[in-house]
Structure formats: structure tokens, C-alpha cells
């Protein structure tokens, strides 16, 4: 860094955010200095995204205060945050494919007379900004012809030239190739040189060490530390700060795992997955654990026939189908991550939801038998403990946990014996979580094979018999669950640590 004066560009004081029953961010205070790359790390659920949402005006803090450039700062919308000098690089891209690079850069800021665009120094300034941070992008090119990384750089250029002196980047490398990551890092460093402060959020610890000046660690909503990365003693210290020493686990080894391998995956490779191989046994609960973007959901989708892949997957000795319909017919069911939009028909009742995946089972000549449907629904409401006054209740009126149980009922009704559960307890309260875990264990005890895809370590270590650790599309390691599981090692692996790293 140059010898310029350092001062505080953003300070956060006693910032707190309460949700019903949970304190997501708990009296967090720290400061960020100007022209630095400031990293924000923490486990899933540590409060990073809640904090970022408060910084960008998407959420209002319960208490506490923020200031930017010495002035009080309390944005109520992304627009206001932008006016306060703080821009965000969203994970999903906000560029217009049909316009050119330059048209995108000036979008909404153009000068016009009588509704006609007039030349202004704005365009020159944009071209200069773009050339300064990434000279290889042609301003006259159509944005649709650019790569994801280049589109991202256009958003950065927009933010930088609109006068923002703080840019928040949330997992900006999630969709980038290695080469593109290097380019992005170059851009970020050039931003720092031009007096822009970057708040960089990433699960990939290598990136943090490569890029960052300072780091702030959050854990369970609390501020753990803010210090220069040069004073952090390697990945080990960072991981220790992230997890503390209190990850409890209550896994009890289960009897009844069969010897028969029901699902065998060999060298599964597609856009994101790289040569993934594993097997699942009868009556077994396996977990796929990794951070956002590691490839968990992609495995679930591949097994379910929702995404194409190379390599082979056999279920009960036969290759799995290439469509969800075939997968369901062969006995595989997926409980998707977004249950409200992908798993449930929220406008239908419980009774109408339950048989959806296997209507022929209760139908005769295309007409379904009302009594059978009702009996089945009642049976599952009872068996899964769905708390409802009636099976005629609309799914949208149920709590998150009960909605999830209805999705389970759907899968069970389809006679699936391999359940793929993508983030099965997301957005579910603590009580219902335990109930869902019990249901999962019961199903496995009855012989079903179950795969849990989760970004919560506690969940995976609580119920899974074997855990596959994912990073960046690779299945890095398989561990057998038990009392001597090394949590620091797991976190090292899923954050991109290499085998030789000393923990």
C-alpha cells in the first residue's frame, strides 16, 4: 500500500439484528480502513449475510449504528446505500444482455435533451474507468457476448464510476473459472489503488489470504476479531476463530446399515462437478457437506435426472434415468432446497399435495379414488406428525417445518426408497428440526437410503453415517462419522485446504 494517510471509511457500532427467536447479529462492532481489501469470514449462519444486508439497506438493524466517511449511515434501500457511497456486487448479475457494454455502464445516468441522448463526458469517463480496471473489454461489444466474469467487471466499473468508495462483493468467485478469478483479483487490487475500499466475502480461505489486507471474523452472530491478515497465523488460526471449540455433535452410530450398495456413482462430471464418485448403501444416511457453490445441489440434481452429466450412476444395478420422471419411477425422490417454490403446491391442500408424485397409485382409469387419497393423507399426517387441524388446510398456511413434512409425505407416497434431501431443515424452527431428523432416521432404519445435502455442519454430523466433503465441484474426502471426527480438519477441507496443510 502507498504511504497515504489511513482513516476509517466504515464503522459499525453495536449492530444487532433480531429475528423472532433468534439473534442473527449480536452487538457487532468493528471498523474498516480506507483503500483496503477487508475480508469478512464466518461459518454458514455466523451472521455474515445479515450483516451485509444491513450494510446495503436491505434490512434494518434492531439496534446499533453505522457510519460511512464519518457521517451517520442508515440506508433503507440499496438505492440509498449507493447514494451513501456504498455499492454492492450482487451474486446474480444485473446487466442488460441486449445492450452494449457502454450502454450498460451509462444506463440510468445518461444525459439527454428532448429525450435524445447527447454526448457527454460521462461516456469518456466510463470508458476510462473500464480501461483502467480491465482494458481487454471492448466498450462497443454486446454484453450478451461476454463471459460471466466480464459481466461482473462491468458491474464493478459501474459501481466504481458512480462514486461509490466502498464496494461489497459477496462470493464473487462462485461462478468463475480459476483464470477468471485471477483477472477479478487484478481488478480488485486496481480498485484499491484508486482509493476504493472492498469488503470481500468468501468461503474460500485461500482467496482471503491471497487478496485481503484485514479480516473480520464472525461466529454465531458475534464479532470475534478484526485484524490484519499478516497477523493471522495461517488457515489454522482463521478456522479456529471461525468455529471456536464448541461444535457439539450428538451422533449415535446406527445399527441396520445394510451391506448392499444401492447407488453407485462413478466419475460424475458436468458443468460444475468434477469426477465425483461415491456409493450409498441400503438403510444408510450419507451427508454431502460443503460451502455454498461446492456442488452439493448439483449432485442431487444429477442423481435425480434434472441435469445432464458424464460418467455413470446406477441405482439398484440399473443406470438412473435422464429425467425426473424416470428417477421417480425407479424409486428416487428429491426434496428440493426451495420447498415453497419447487417442492410444494402452496395453493393446494395437504390432501391434494400428498399424491401428486404418484397419482396412478390411487387412480383407476384416470379417475382417482377420493377415499384412497384421503386415507393416505391422513396416514402421513399421523406418521410424520404434521401439525394441522385438517388435511384440507392449504399448504401455504402451514409452518416451515410442517410444509417440509408434507414434501416428505409426497416423496414417501411415491414409494421412493432413495431420498435426496437438499437442505432439509432450512428455515425450519428448532423443534421441527429434531422431528425431521427423527423422521429421517426412522426411514433409514426401515431400509431407505438417504442422502442429505447440507451446508450446516452440525446437521451433517448429527445424523449422517458417512460424510462426503465437497469443495469446488470435487468430492475431496469421505469420512465415517463418529466421536473422533476432526472438525477443524473438515473445515480445512471444505474451504479448499490441501492435504499437507498443518492444522
Amino acid at each position: 500500500m502507498t504511504g497515504q494517510q489511513t482513516f476509517t471509511v466504515l464503522s459499525v457500532e453495536e449492530l444487532t439484528k433480531d429475528y423472532p427467536g433468534v439473534r442473527a447479529v449480536d452487538q457487532v462492532s468493528f471498523v474498516i480502513e480506507n483503500s483496503t481489501i477487508h475480508c469478512l469470514v464466518g461459518e454458514n449462519g455466523a451472521g455474515k449475510s445479515t450483516l451485509v444486508k444491513m450494510l446495503t439497506g436491505a434490512l434494518e438493524p434492531t439496534s446499533g449504528s453505522m457510519s460511512v466517511n464519518g457521517k451517520a449511515y442508515a440506508p433503507t434501500s440499496p438505492q440509498e446505500a449507493r447514494e451513501g457511497g456504498l455499492a454492492t456486487l450482487f451474486q446474480e448479475l444485473h446487466v442488460v444482455d441486449e445492450l452494449t457494454v457502454l450502454e450498460n455502464l451509462t444506463l440510468g445516468m445518461e444525459k439527454s435533451r428532448f429525450g435524445f441522448l447527447i454526448k457527454s463526458d460521462l461516456e469518456d469517463r466510463m470508458i476510462k474507468t473500464l480501461a483502467a480496471i480491465e482494458p481487454s473489454i471492448d466498450p462497443t461489444a454486446r454484453v450478451s457476448s461476454l463471459s460471466v466474469a466480464q459481466k461482473q467487471i462491468i458491474e464493478i466499473a459501474r459501481a466504481a464510476s458512480s462514486g461509490a468508495n466502498i464496494i461489497i462483493m459477496d462470493e464473487p468467485t462462485a461462478a468463475l473459472s480459476e483464470r477468471e478469478v485471477e483477472r477479478l483479483f487484478g481488478v480488485i487490487r486496481r480498485l484499491r489503488e484508486s482509493n476504493v475500499t472492498v469488503i470481500y466475502i468468501s468461503h474460500k480461505l485461500d482467496e482471503i489470504f491471497e487478496l485481503g489486507d484485514n479480516v473480520t471474523v464472525l461466529r454465531d452472530g458475534k464479532h470475534i476479531a478484526t485484524k490484519p491478515l499478516s497477523e493471522v497465523n495461517g488457515r489454522a488460526e482463521l478456522i479456529e476463530m471461525m468455529i471456536g471449540r464448541t461444535v457439539f455433535q450428538n451422533y449415535t452410530p446406527r445399527a441396520g446399515i445394510g451391506d448392499k450398495v444401492v447407488l453407485q456413482a462413478q466419475g460424475v462430471t458436468n458443468k460444475l462437478l468434477k469426477n465425483v464418485s461415491f456409493d450409498i448403501k441400503e438403510g444408510e444416511i450419507v451427508g454431502f457437506y460443503g460451502l455454498v457453490g461446492a456442488g452439493k445441489t448439483e449432485i442431487a440434481r444429477a442423481l435425480f435426472g434434472a441435469d445432464p452429466f458424464e460418467g455413470s450412476v446406477t441405482y439398484k444395478g440399473k443406470p438412473v434415468g435422464t429425467t425426473p420422471k424416470e428417477a421417480i419411477a425407479s424409486g428416487i425422490a428429491l426434496v428440493p432446497e426451495e420447498r415453497r417454490t419447487q417442492g410444494l403446491f402452496t395453493e393446494l391442500t395437504i390432501r391434494e399435495n400428498v399424491p401428486v408424485m404418484n397419482l396412478p397409485r390411487v387412480s383407476k382409469s384416470g379417475i382417482f379414488k377420493a377415499r384412497d387419497v384421503r386415507d393416505a393423507s391422513l396416514r402421513y399426517v399421523d406418521q410424520l406428525g404434521i401439525a394441522t387441524s385438517s388435511i384440507e388446510k392449504h399448504a401455504e398456511k402451514l409452518s416451515g417445518g410442517n410444509q417440509q413434512k408434507v414434501v416428505f409425505a409426497k416423496c414417501l407416497f411415491s414409494k421412493a426408497d432413495l431420498l435426496l434431501l437438499d437442505e432439509p431443515t432450512r428455515g425450519v424452527d428448532v423443534g421441527a428440526k429434531t422431528e425431521i431428523y427423527d423422521i429421517i432416521k426412522e426411514l433409514a432404519d426401515e431400509g431407505d437410503a438417504i442422502a442429505v445435502f447440507s451446508s450446516e455442519l452440525e446437521e451433517v454430523l448429527g445424523i449422517c453415517d458417512r460424510v462426503f466433503l465437497m469443495f469446488d465441484g470435487h468430492l475431496q474426502e469421505e469420512i465415517t462419522n463418529g466421536p473422533d471426527v476432526d472438525i477443524a480438519h473438515i473445515l480445512n477441507v471444505v474451504t479448499g485446504g490441501h492435504e499437507g496443510d498443518v492444522i
Binding site: H94, V96, N104, L107, L117, I137, D138
Partner: protein
């Protein structure tokens, strides 16, 4: 370093993408040439509207162009609206209502210019109603404009009253002599004012599309509404403005047709929404918004008119709806095909 810049150079498109891009940009002109060639080879033995002999003689071309004026004046604004991702099914009714209003004004002694301007203002008002329904009341564009299709058509029928089918001379009232000159009388190159107004509107819209804020905001709204909003663009106002100018151009279309036919027919715009959609799709505008060019739609309109008129000379009129439906299906399917192709490469 070299390999990186090469790999990501924006101009480095695959061959397939280049071909499909070129095709999308220029195929419409090839289609026009093909249609003209086919028509040129046709020989007419008998048809009262057209001269015998070679189909493409001067009089026939002028005839086609002046019949085309209503569609030509509508195609450009309709394109911009579809580029923004919206649609207006009420244009035919706006046309019919405008035709009736214009004829009523004229037959009651209002001179040309006030009648003309007043009808345009009414068109703008009808467009504004559509805009309000869609932007303020958040009604899906198809539903909102289907509602106004019925409303405006109903209003036009009420204005004509029972017993007669259109506003025309009779019952002691007489259409002024100037009434049909706007749509018929050659003012330049033997083409009537209605055609030149359509041409001028098209040129203005081409400029607006390429150099105007409205054109850019339409593309941004249709391409990525979230990005447009986050850039501080008032997408609601953009869409509202587009509905208003579509209303104005539908009124111009109504005036042109009313003048050409010398009467105010409330049903004179029936089916216009389908023809307009066909023309815009034929011009390569994406159904999903974001893409599309005014000039290509103008050419598309010429093609459709040449085909319809050409068709009139060989098949009975009642085949038209079916043929237009088939052409729409074809255009929509190829639109899908082209956009898939673009994505794949």
C-alpha cells in the same frame, strides 16, 4: 496473457453464433426480395383492384403501399412496446374507435386539422388507459389490453348507433370532399399523405430507438427489468409512455384506414393486433423482450401486405385469417429456434 485475451475477446464468437446473428439481422430483407420476386413473376388475368398483366406494375405498387399505411404506422411503436416486454392487444379497437371518431368529426363539419389532432389525442388517451391498467393496477398486459379491446370496440359500436354499420354519408349528412384525400390522393411520388406520415413516424422511431432515452430504456426494461430498476430507470414510466405512443399510432392507423375507405367503420381494425404481432415477430423481435428493430418490423409489414394483397388475387378473402395464423405460428416457431440457437453457441 495472450491466450486469456484471445479466449475472452468479445468478437470471438463461434461460427454458429455468427451465422445465426447475421441471419437474425438481415434475413428479413432476403424475405422481402423473395416475396417481390415471386409476385413479379405472377401474371394477373383478372382482378378489379389491380391492373392486368404483370402484378408489380407501378399502379399496383402504389396501391399496396397506400393500403399498407395503417399497418406501417403501427409497426414501429408496436415494436418498441414488444422490445420492452409488453404487448397491446387493443390496437385494433383503438383503430376502430379512432376511425369512427375521426369520421364523426368530419361529417359534423370539423375541418381536417382539428379532426386529425383531436383523434390523435384520443388515441393517446386510450393508450394511457392501457398504460395505467398495466403499470398502476398491475394487471397482466394480455388481460389488461384484452379488457380494453372489448371496451374500446364497444365504445366505437355505441358511437355508430343502431341501424347502420359505419359513419358514412347519408341521412342528410355528407362526408366532406377532403375526407378521403389523406389516405388516397397522391402528394409525392403518387403516394398519399398517410404513407408519408407512416414513413416519417418510422424514421423518427428509428432515431428514438438508436439515439433516444426511450429506446434504450425500452431495451433495458425488456432485457433485464431488475437491472433497469437498480440503474434508477423508472420502468413504469417507460412502459406507460410506450402504451401512449402505441395508442397515438393506432389512432393514426385508424385515420388512414377511415380516410382510405371514406367511412368510419368501428370494426375496421379487427384482427390488427394479430397482424401487428406477426409483423414484429417476422422482423425478428424476441417475444421475451430486449431485442428488436423498428426498421425490420417496417419491412416485415411491407412483406405481410404484399403477401395479403397478392393472396387476394388468388384465394378468397376468407382464407386470410387462417393464413395469417399459420404465418404467426411459423414466425413464433422460428423465433424460438433462432433464440435457442443463439443460446446454444
Amino acid at each position: 496473457m495472450m491466450s486469456i485475451t484471445q479466449q475472452t475477446n468479445a468478437s470471438e464468437l463461434t461460427f454458429g453464433a455468427k451465422v445465426s446473428g447475421f441471419f437474425q439481422n438481415y434475413y428479413i430483407y432476403f424475405v422481402l426480395v423473395a416475396v417481390v420476386a415471386i409476385l413479379a413473376s405472377a401474371n394477373l388475368d383478372q382482378f378489379d383492384l389491380f391492373e392486368r398483366g404483370n402484378f408489380l406494375n407501378k399502379r399496383n405498387i402504389i396501391n399496396i403501399l397506400r393500403i399498407s399505411a395503417p399497418l406501417l404506422v403501427l409497426a414501429g411503436t408496436f415494436t418498441l412496446l414488444m422490445v420492452s416486454g409488453y404487448i397491446d392487444l387493443s390496437v385494433g379497437s383503438v383503430m376502430g374507435l379512432s376511425a369512427v371518431v375521426y369520421a364523426l368529426l368530419a361529417i359534423n363539419g370539423v375541418p381536417f386539422l382539428p379532426a386529425f389532432v383531436l383523434t390523435m389525442i384520443i388515441g393517446a388517451g386510450l393508450g394511457a388507459i392501457n398504460g395505467l391498467l398495466v403499470v398502476r393496477l398491475n394487471i397482466t398486459p394480455v388481460i389488461a389490453t384484452l379488457i380494453t379491446l372489448s371496451l374500446f370496440k364497444g365504445a366505437a359500436l355505441l358511437l355508430v348507433q343502431d341501424g347502420v354499420s359505419a359513419i358514412k354519408s347519408g341521412n342528410g349528412l355528407k362526408m366532406p370532399s377532403w375526407f378521403n384525400s389523406y389516405g388516397r390522393e397522391g402528394v409525392l411520388l403518387n403516394l398519399p399523405a398517410s404513407f408519408w406520415v407512416a414513413a416519417a413516424v418510422t424514421i423518427l422511431l428509428i432515431i428514438i430507438q438508436n439515439r433516444g432515452t426511450l429506446g434504450k430504456y425500452a431495451a433495458a426494461t425488456g432485457g433485464n427489468p431488475t437491472a433497469a430498476k437498480l440503474s434508477g430507470i423508472n420502468t413504469g414510466r417507460t412502459v406507460f409512455t410506450l402504451y401512449v405512443i402505441v395508442g397515438v399510432s393506432a389512432a393514426l392507423a385508424g385515420i388512414a384506414r377511415s380516410s382510405f375507405m371514406s367511412l368510419g367503420d368501428p370494426l375496421s381494425g379487427d384482427g390488427m393486433e394479430l397482424t401487428a404481432i406477426l409483423v414484429v415477430l417476422l422482423g425478428g423481435t424476441a417475444f421475451s423482450g430486449g431485442e428488436g428493430k423498428v426498421l425490420r418490423s417496417f419491412v416485415g409489414a411491407l412483406i405481410i401486405m404484399a403477401l395479403t394483397v397478392g393472396m387476394l388475387t388468388i384465394v378468397p378473402a376468407y382464407y386470410q385469417a387462417f393464413v395469417i395464423g399459420s404465418a404467426l405460428l411459423l414466425a413464433a416457431a422460428s423465433n424460438h429456434f433462432i433464440s435457442q440457437k443463439g443460446k446454444a453457441s
